[in-house]
């Protein structure tokens, strides 16, 4: 039973993250602090603009979007790059490579447990708070189902990007700079820090052609649509799926070549 070995890793990940109570509390508090900051920042942006609607989004729209983007970020962030980098530096990667599992999958499933925990500690509470505070500004209906599907694909794309960046560490043997660069690029171009509607026209068009918007912008747009028709949603999910396939394939291929590189040149 192949699935069992993956679920075993998930289970261990859940138990492992539950061991660290303080870390979990700190994460919840940090999340709340960031949300407060976002609230006041955008409140003043809207106040100084003089209108209620900026770039087609009301203050409530923007706030819901950003708050949920943050929640989604906490949920999806896997620190894969750190993990791969650290494993390479300390040489622990050798131990992972001699597991009877593909490294890419092994790492993903090792992290899936903390996914599950973070979903319940950050995403769900934030979602409920937002839904209650905005008195039903978040539509609840068929969009939630589409949202879950969309997030699942987003997780795949996000992991693939992380894995590709992590693989670069095989060559550079340093992590910090690369990881920071990746984080800034992904968060900005995916619409996690600023909604894509606020981007200048040309940049918006470029971003539409990149994989990053499929990570945050796509699921959040779906979530905030009340009762969307399949014709509205399917193209978005189609694009996501295409990126998921492309990025996964690219990640696998890059890893395969790179691993050959280490096995040929030393590790």
């Amino acid at each position: 039973m192949k699935l069992k070995r993956y679920l075993a890793l998930t289970r261990a990940g859940i138990i492992e993250s539950l061991q660290y109570r303080i870390a979990m509390i700190v994460m919840v508090i940090g999340n709340l602090l960031y949300l407060t900051l976002v609230y006041f920042l955008w409140k003043s942006i809207y106040a100084s603009s003089g209108t209620d609607i900026v770039n087609g989004m009301t203050f409530t729209d923007t706030l819901i979007y950003l708050v949920l983007a943050t929640a989604l970020f906490h949920f999806m962030e896997m620190y894969t790059v750190w993990e791969i980098g650290r494993n390479i530096q300390t040489g622990k990667i050798v131990l992972d490579l001699i597991k009877p599992m593909e490294y890419r999958r092994y790492l993903f499933w090792s992290y899936s447990g903390s996914f599950a925990v973070q979903f319940f500690t950050t995403f769900l509470p934030t979602f409920i708070i937002v839904a209650v505070l905005t008195h039903g500004a978040v539509p609840i209906g068929i969009n939630l189902v589409w949202f879950v599907i969309s997030v699942a694909i987003a997780v795949t794309i996000n992991y693939s990007i992380d894995f590709i960046v992590g693989t670069i560490c095989l060559y550079t043997e340093s992590i910090w700079g690369i990881n920071i660069m990746k984080q800034v690029i992904v968060l900005l171009l995916s619409g996690a820090t600023i909604p894509l509607a606020f981007f200048p026209e040309e940049l918006h068009r470029i971003v539409e052609c990149l994989p990053f918007q499929s990570i945050y912008n796509a699921p959040l747009t779906i979530l905030l649509k009340a009762d969307p028709a399949p014709a509205e949603v399917l193209p978005v999910i189609g694009v996501q799926l295409a990126w998921a396939v492309v990025m996964t394939a690219a990640g696998c291929l890059f890893w395969k070549c790179s691993l050959r590189q280490i096995t040929v040149n030393g590790g």
């Binding site: 070995r5 679920l7 075993a8 050798v94 001699i98 009877p100 280490i262």
Partner: protein, 333 residues
């Protein structure tokens, strides 16, 4: 007996950048780099039978780890061929993984914050060990070591000895055909070392597992290995049992004496009297290394008896440690 590992003339070369010194050197390195080729493993061949315990020895940087990494499939040999259980490890890494277990004395494969039993359960699922076999293994473990108190202890709270013990158990859990132990007794106290040696010995005997043991502790070798392989500078120096090694080095014995008077002064004069034998002294003993092919210990003793007042004496076989040290320092010629 069937050979579980066959190694034919493997060589491994690395391309190493030549680094320049100093700040200017580092800046120049950014723009142009030259490389040289380092041959870490040089034309090694051996056959290892199922169930053997092999001591794989060599000074630091001799190429031991590189060879082991090639056998586990992490590295690909530059030339030559390795077959582990009939297939090339670097081409079938995940399949090969099912047949091998590895312990690196310096690192742990266990889940740091989980109790040991959870790591075992995970390994059971990862290696897809059938329940019956898993339970049988746990029973065997509890008959060999006092595993009860360890099972529910998080790995991060374990002492180094407990952790190493647990790592060894984890490596044998899926009943692999071969287990690689890389310095398993490093940093452990005497009683833990002996516990671990007994455990390795018992597991090898009960499961007929081939064990390849790298170590710098000759106690491990004396306790476990019938056969030793020594490499240095990537070249194989020796491959045979440990008894042969001693003979190979001549019939050396150490004669230890306590004589009247200041030991270090007396040692000097004994050295002058016996030009063929190296003499050393410490606080308690004067040690004379005698090659019995050239001169009998008894004749040395009677010669010394005439001019010195001998209070006490001991006769020692040359230790494997001494033999290995001589090989590392002088090479076999």
């Amino acid at each position: 007996m069937e050979n579980i590992i066959q190694i034919r003339n493997i060589t491994k070369e690395f391309r190493v950048p030549d680094r320049r010194d100093g700040l200017m050197g580092s800046i120049r390195d950014l723009f142009s780099r030259s490389y040289h080729t380092l041959r870490a493993v040089d034309d090694i061949s051996m056959d290892i039978a199922q169930g053997e315990i092999i001591g794989y020895l060599g000074p630091n940087g001799a190429g031991k780890s590189t060879t082991i990494k090639m056998m586990t499939g992490v590295l690909e040999p530059t030339s030559g061929e390795i077959l582990v259980n009939g297939c090339a490890p670097y081409r079938n890494r995940t399949r090969n993984a099912q047949n091998i277990g590895v312990v690196f004395g310096q690192r742990s494969q266990l889940w740091w914050s989980l109790p040991l039993i959870e790591s075992f359960r995970l390994l059971r699922d990862i290696y897809m060990i059938p329940d019956a076999q898993y339970n049988e293994m746990l029973e065997l473990y509890s008959s060999l070591v006092d595993i009860g108190p360890l099972l529910h202890k998080p790995v991060r709270q374990m002492s180094l000895g407990q952790r190493t013990l647990s790592d060894i158990l984890a490596a044998f859990l899926h009943d692999p055909k071969i287990v690689f132990l890389d310095e398993p007794t490093i940093g452990l106290d005497v009683s833990m070392k002996s516990k671990i040696r007994t455990l390795i010995y018992e597991l090898n005997r009960k499961k007929n597992t081939t064990v390849i043991l790298t170590t710098h502790d000759m106690g491990d070798v004396d306790a476990l290995c019938e056969r030793i392989v020594i490499i240095d500078h990537g070249k194989m120096l020796y491959d045979n049992d440990i008894e042969h090694l001693k003979k190979y080095f001549g019939a050396y014995r150490t004669l230890k004496l306590r004589v009247k008077g200041c030991l270090s002064e007396q040692a000097e004069s004994i050295a002058a009297e016996l030009p063929g034998c190296p003499v050393t002294s410490d606080d308690n003993w004067i040690s004379v290394l005698v090659n019995e092919d050239k001169q009998k210990v008894v004749s040395v003793l009677s010669q010394l008896q005439t001019s010195y007042d001998i209070r006490d004496m001991q006769l020692e076989e040359i230790s494997s440690e001494e033999v290995i040290k001589r090989i590392y320092e002088g090479g076999v010629s």
